[in-house]
């Protein structure tokens, strides 16, 4: 319970988790929010654009109005609020999905390496080294470019980001497992005849929870950046599906003509990332106070 108490006293963590939860909520109820605004993320509104000036939104602040709360997208007139809330689904969904997969792979491989004896450890560690050494962005771009277009893009994005990014979790898990397996209670369990699987599940796993959770919280924002980066480079979600990265990508040619179009997805991405980093730091401090003293 000391953990919860520590977390409650951490203002950074509290602020971060409020914002993060809010973003998750927005993503979950995106259709309701868009409906409340009376908008759809695919409908064009040509009448709201100044076609002679390249299609910049008419009116101030990127065409903000009672109908279009955050204005409209330049060039198409699609409602920016609807696109941003739907974009949250892709950005957060892909990041969360990828993080879960990374933790799953990483913990499985890490514990297997830590408990598996010399040869298994050596082999698995080499595999992890390989994963860590692969130039992941280049590989992700080529992987996403060759898959058939009808495969579900968000799932694919999550899978690709996960497959190329589970090495870190595996390393941390292996190290932690190696230190845990020498503890007395593990030795006692082994002497009482417990198999490796039971030891991994009952003795090692609880000890891994804290470091893995902390690491996962740090992975989440990294994965969000990865998704935004891939979408920015044009290999992310397909139009008309919005994502924050894809919105930022199209905004590059508009940043002076229509600054709002850059500010909205850019600001949201920044805020969300900051929130998750605060949460991760709070968790780390609460779960391992000794280490956080050193780190500070």
């Amino acid at each position: 319970m000391t953990v919860l108490r520590r977390l409650r006293g951490d203002r950074g963590f509290l602020a971060g988790s409020v914002v993060a939860l809010l973003m998750v909520l927005v993503a979950v109820v995106a259709p309701l929010l868009a409906a409340a605004a009376g908008q759809d993320y695919t409908n064009y509104h040509d009448n709201l654009l100044d076609s002679a000036r390249g299609g910049v939104p008419l009116g101030r602040f990127g065409g903000m109005s009672a109908d279009h709360w955050l204005g409209v997208e330049p060039g198409t007139g699609r409602d920016l609020f609807a696109r941003v809330v739907y974009g949250a689904r892709v950005s957060l969904g892909v990041a969360v999905g990828a993080t879960m997969l990374q933790v799953l792979f990483g913990v499985l491989v890490g514990t297997a390496a830590g408990l598996g004896g010399r040869w298994a450890d050596a082999a698995l560690t080499r595999v992890v080294d390989l994963v860590l050494a692969v130039p992941s962005l280049v590989l992700a771009i080529s992987l996403l470019a060759i898959v058939p277009p009808d495969w579900p893009r968000p799932l694919l994005l999550a899978a690709v980001i996960a497959v190329l990014g589970w090495g870190g979790t595996a390393r941390i898990t292996r190290g932690e497992t190696l230190s845990l397996r020498t503890r007395d209670y593990v030795a006692a369990a082994r002497l009482s005849g417990a198999g490796w699987f039971r030891i991994a599940r009952r003795e090692i796993a609880p000890g891994l929870a804290a470091p893995v959770l902390t690491y996962a919280a740090l992975l989440l924002p990294t994965n969000m950046i990865a998704e935004a980066g891939l979408s920015f480079l044009g290999v992310g979600v397909r139009p008309p599906t919005p994502s924050w990265g894809q919105m930022l990508s199209t905004a590059t040619t508009w940043f002076r003509a229509d600054p709002m179009y850059v500010a909205v997805p850019g600001g949201l991405l920044f805020l969300t990332l900051l929130a998750f980093v605060l949460v991760a730091n709070g968790l780390r401090r609460a779960l391992d106070p000794r280490q956080s003293e050193v780190l500070r």
């Binding site: 064009y44 076609s51 002679a52 390249g54 299609g55 044009g234 002076r256």
Partner: protein
């Protein structure tokens, strides 16, 4: 501005230009005097690099913009302003050519005062040799017309393998050159503007290495050339204004830099810091940043040229594939299309205009207005639904193939605009992106051609022929690849009419017939014309006399001054 094959070079490498085409140029002052404009260095900031400088390998409209500075051709763009701007003018030749044998034979006489950069006189044999080189498989890239038009030239392999040369080109003396064609071609004087008609001295020809320093016949010659990177041109001491009144050749030096980002080029031209005040571009159309400042009475309004390169963005149906074999389906899509969204996706009404005709709205091409499936400004989904219901087709689901980037106006932005418009009419569109570098390979092969694709077509020269023939002539369906008749439409009556118009040497007659032919084919809804191109280019604040023409829509470097 990357382009489809017939204009790809014109767009990517080197752009042609001359005088006034569509919009009024804002920069030219009536007092511009070509006699006193000399001096200074002009900088050309471009996106696309000059991959080849060999006259045999360039694919240009009207001889190109940069190539035309060093290569004179039999005829060239007339570089006039206004109504007459889309015509050819004699360059090396004394006139536009004399047609005989029903436009199957074309005879040209060369001027007396034309010389190469080393002072050697230019002869008819040099022109003939230049054309023969362009048939060599070692030097690919030029327009396909000569091989198709010249008599018995279909299998000629160029002067390296067949030094006997082309029988179809005769040079009875040093100053006369005669072309024998296998069919009547009234547009021959337009084709003779291409760089393949530039003289090449046989003694200086180094084959593929010739492009390192093509021997100049124009006002400038090559000082240094790095493919795709840079080109520096300096004055050719042997060229004289007396022999060439079309090129003003004002700057003493022209430096071309390639590989720059369009947004960066336009930002530099708009700001005009230092040397950028003397800079122009031949391929970076303005972006939203500059469009937002144009028309506000600000300083940028004095640094812009507005022209129109004859070109159409359109949806191409493959009528051999269901459901597009059904004319009702094609009509329904025509009714549903929202051209306002498409124009906005292309960059707004300053750089594109809605089109309901396949021919773009230039008189020189024979443009005739028609709108058989009126969609209004923003589409008529109700009418589209009605047409589909009459045909017994309820919820239609189709696939639209497009390029994966927006650089050519055939990318995701336009595709998404089409998708949204058809959604209103109950037609579900699935978008399929293909990498831009292989897009033509897929759509240009009847075996792999998708049912519906985004396309762009530009004029090789301002006439109806090169605009309509590759798209609608049934004999131009090329099974092996490189096909542009995407509807795979073959009507003997249309083919016969094409032959009949080709035989006309009177351009005004030909224009009327091309326009009528377009209006006739339009009834079949083989394409959905979406928009035509408008070209808005910036130039540095010291640049004078930057006026566009009807061939390319860009300003002509041969007439620009930075003094």
């Amino acid at each position: 501005m990357r382009r489809i094959a017939p204009v790809v070079m014109a767009g990517t490498l080197l752009l042609a230009a001359g005088c006034d085409g569509g919009g009024g140029a804002t920069s030219s002052s009536a007092a511009f005097d070509p006699a006193t404009c000399q001096g200074g260095a002009l900088a050309v900031l471009n996106q696309g690099g000059i991959t080849h400088l060999d006259p045999a390998r360039l694919y240009t409209s009207g001889g190109g913009n940069i190539p035309s500075l060093l290569l004179r051709t039999l005829t060239t763009r007339n570089r006039q302003q206004g109504e007459t701007s889309a015509k050819p003018a004699p360059d090396l030749a004394t006139d536009l050519g004399t047609a005989s044998d029903g436009a199957r034979t074309w005879t040209y006489h060369l001027r007396d005062d034309i010389v190469f950069e080393d002072g050697t006189p230019i002869t008819a044999a040099d022109v003939k040799y230049g054309i023969e080189r362009s048939f060599a498989p070692e030097l690919p890239g030029g327009a396909p017309y000569l091989r198709d038009w010249l008599r018995d030239a279909a299998s000629y392999q160029g002067p390296y393998k067949q030094p006997d040369g082309l029988k179809a080109i005769e040079t009875p003396d040093d100053k006369t050159i005669v072309f024998k064609l296998r069919k009547p071609e009234g547009d021959f004087p337009y084709l003779a503007t291409a760089t393949q008609f530039a003289p090449v001295p046989k003694a200086k020809d180094k084959g593929v290495g010739y492009e390192a320093h093509p021997v100049s016949s124009g006002p400038y010659m090559v000082e240094s050339y790095q493919p795709k990177k840079s080109l520096v041109l300096v004055r050719n001491p042997h060229w004289s204004t007396k022999s060439d009144q079309l090129r003003y050749a004002c700057p003493d030096r022209i430096e071309v830099t390639s590989g720059l980002d369009a947004a960066v080029i336009n930002q530099r031209l708009a700001t005009g810091a230092g040397q950028d005040a003397n800079a122009v571009t031949t391929d970076a159309v303005v972006g939203p940043e500059q469009l937002a400042q144009l028309g506000t009475g600000g300083p940028l309004d004095k640094q812009v040229s507005r022209g129109e390169f004859p070109a159409t963005y359109y949806l191409a149906f493959n009528t051999k594939k269901a459901p597009f074999d059904n004319q009702k389906v094609r009509e329904a899509i025509s009714y549903a299309i929202n051209r306002t969204s498409v124009v906005n996706a292309l960059g707004g009404s300053t750089v594109a205009g809605a089109s309901t005709t396949f021919l773009p709205p230039q008189k020189a091409l024979g443009y005739q207005q028609y709108d058989y499936f009126p969609a209004g400004g923003t589409g008529d989904p109700a009418k589209a639904k009605q047409v589909l219901a009459e045909a017994g087709l309820g919820n239609l689901s189709i696939e639209l193939t497009h390029e994966n980037d927006d650089a050519e106006g055939e990318g995701p932005k336009v595709a998404a605009a089409v998708q949204d418009a058809l959604k209103q009419a109950g037609i579900t569109v699935k978008l399929t992106a293909i990498d831009a570098s292989t897009y033509r390979d897929v759509t240009g092969k009847p075996d792999t051609e998708p049912g519906l694709s985004l396309q762009y077509w530009g004029a090789d020269w301002p006439s109806g022929g090169p605009f309509l023939i590759p798209i609608f002539d049934g004999r131009q369906i090329i099974k092996a690849g490189g096909n542009f008749n995407l509807a795979q439409y073959d009507d003997p009556a249309v083919n016969a009419e094409i032959d009949a118009i080709n035989a006309l040497t009177d351009q005004s007659q030909a224009q009327a017939r091309w326009g009528a032919l377009d209006a006739k084919i339009g009834k079949l809804a083989l394409t959905v014309p979406l928009a035509h191109e408008k070209d808005v280019y910036l130039f540095g604040k010291n640049v004078k006399n930057a006026v566009p023409d009807g061939w390319r829509g860009t300003y002509d470097l041969a007439r620009i001054s930075v003094k």
